[in-house]
């Protein structure tokens, strides 16, 4: 499994972890991981600590997740990207759109 979605204990949020490559092949899986999570004010955490590669479709997927979170008046936090991934997020100016916890 390259995508793991864990509902947090207090049921207040969803943690999605991506391992190794975050690219187009995951789009269906990624979408399915959050599409049925519809709690108001939910906090989504995208754990990228094990992600080693990311292309532009990953950025698109993150934006769609962000849209989903916004629709629920919730929020999205990106957690622990490595240097290379963080650089891509910076170039795409994602730090202006969502908090990135290094």
């Amino acid at each position: 499994m390259t995508i793991q979605a864990i509902t947090l204990a207090d049921n207040k949020g969803l943690k999605i972890s991506i391992s190794e490559r975050f690219d187009f092949s995951l789009h269906q899986q990624f979408r399915d991981s959050y599409l049925n999570y519809n709690d108001k004010g939910a906090e989504f955490t995208l754990d990228l600590s094990n992600t080693t590669y990311m292309d532009s479709s990953a950025l698109g997927m993150i934006l769609l997740l962000k849209d989903h979170a916004d629709k629920l008046s919730g929020k999205l936090v990106i957690s622990k990207p490595n240097d290379a991934i963080n650089k891509i997020l910076e170039i795409a100016q994602f730090h202006r759109l969502m908090p990135i916890e290094v």
């Binding site: 690219d23 532009s56 698109g60 934006l63 650089k87 170039i91 100016q93």
Partner: protein
């Protein structure tokens, strides 16, 4: 005879000393020269006074013929002294004139070179300004600088990344819709399967009906026709179903192609963008550094200009020495003129060649005293007026 020997010795010393004076003048040590001339004048006066006393004493003790002989010797000595003075004065005069000329030429040259130095420095500053302007521009018509070009590139790159990301997002949305559509197709296939099953049941029923009609014989003949038609319809219906299935299958193939192309659209590799961004960033840093350096150089150069102006000013102020030297030469000239006057006086006595030497010498002594007083006063005035060069400002001349 005793007096003659004394005179002779004295003149010997005077000649040597005057020769030394000549040397000093060439070395232009004007104050020493002047001092020496004053001492010389005093010395001559003292000597002449003493001589006069001697003559007075002798007049009492010696006969007239001896006195006449003494006068003759004295006149000859005075003539020699006068000739010597005239010659030396002429030499000193010439040397003074030569010094004046040399100073004038040198000062003219130095002054011109300072002025052109000032102009050259201004030109240099202007040219360096042009170089800096050229270095900053990238040669287009709107006068963009390297810095603004790099900034534009950075903005363009950011816009480009934005487009990539938004394209990816839209493509993924498209993909989601496509997936929904594929699911819809699956439902259609399920419905088609039900229709097929209906058709096959109809076919079976029509077959049964045909069999029953055959068993009924003539009475069932009409019904057999109907049953056959129903069966034919069920077969057509099955064929139609198959056609629909085939069409939808080709639609699915097209959707697979659509997926592939949307995938390409959505997944742009960011590596090259990252590299470009890194390049632009390092270029920005470089331009910033280069600009800072250029700014510093320009500042340094701007500071150099007043320094050059100051230095040139010091040089020009130092050229005051021309004025001071002229003043010194002028007073030296007036001193020489004084000596010349004494010399003329002496000349007048020797030219007369006869008469009462005592009377002549008495008036000569008076003249000498007057001259000494006058040159002393002049010298005092000059020392007061000639202050240091460093004092006061002087403009270009």
């Amino acid at each position: 005879m005793k007096v003659n020997v004394k005179q002779f010795a004295l003149f010997g010393i005077l000649t040597i000393v005057l020769a030394l004076v000549n040397l000093w003048i060439i070395e232009s040590n004007t104050i020493l020269v002047f001092t020496y001339i004053v001492i010389l004048a005093i010395f001559i006066t003292i000597y002449l006074k003493k001589n006069k006393n001697d003559i007075d004493n002798r007049q009492v003790n010696t006969s007239d013929s001896t006195a006449a002989a003494h006068d003759e010797v004295a006149y000859a000595a005075l003539a020699q002294l006068s000739a010597f003075l005239t010659q030396e004065i002429e030499v000193i005069d010439n040397e003074l004139e030569r010094t004046r000329g040399l100073v004038q030429d040198a000062v003219g040259g130095i002054s011109t070179s300072f002025k052109s130095l000032q102009h050259l420095s201004t030109d240099q500053q202007r040219l360096i300004g042009i170089i800096i302007d050229n270095g900053n521009s990238i040669g287009d018509e709107s006068g963009s600088t390297l810095a603004s070009f790099v900034k534009d590139s950075s903005n363009t790159l950011e816009d480009f990344v934005k487009v990539i990301v938004s394209t990816s997002k839209q493509s993924l949305e498209t993909m989601a819709f496509t997936d929904e559509m594929v699911n819809q197709f699956q439902s259609i296939f399920n419905l088609l399967a039900q229709v097929e099953s209906l058709a096959s049941q109809t076919n079976l029923l029509a077959l049964n009906a045909a069999i029953e009609a055959a068993r009924a014989g003539d009475a069932g003949r009409g019904f057999a026709v109907v049953a056959n038609e129903v069966r034919a319809l069920s077969v057509s219906s099955t064929e139609l179903n198959q056609d629909i299935r085939n069409e939808i299958s080709s639609a699915q193939e097209i959707i697979a192609k659509l997926r592939a192309s949307v995938e390409i659209m959505a997944s742009a590799d960011m590596t090259s963008t990252l590299e470009a961004k890194d390049k632009v960033s390092s270029m920005m840093a470089h331009v910033g550094k280069a600009n800072a350096q250029t700014g510093k150089v320009v500042d340094d150069m701007a500071q150099l200009v007043p320094q050059i102006v100051d230095t040139v000013g010091i040089g020009i102020r130092s050229l005051q020495f021309e004025d001071l030297t002229y003043q010194t030469l002028a007073s030296l000239k007036s001193n020489i003129d004084a000596v010349h006057e004494i010399s003329n006086e002496l000349n007048a006595i020797t030219e007369a060649g006869s008469g009462d030497l005592t009377t002549h010498l008495a008036s000569f002594e008076e003249k000498c005293q007057k001259m000494i007083k006058q040159t002393k006063d002049d010298n005092h005035q000059r020392t007061v007026s000639q202050a240091s060069m460093a004092e006061g400002e002087i403009d270009l001349f």
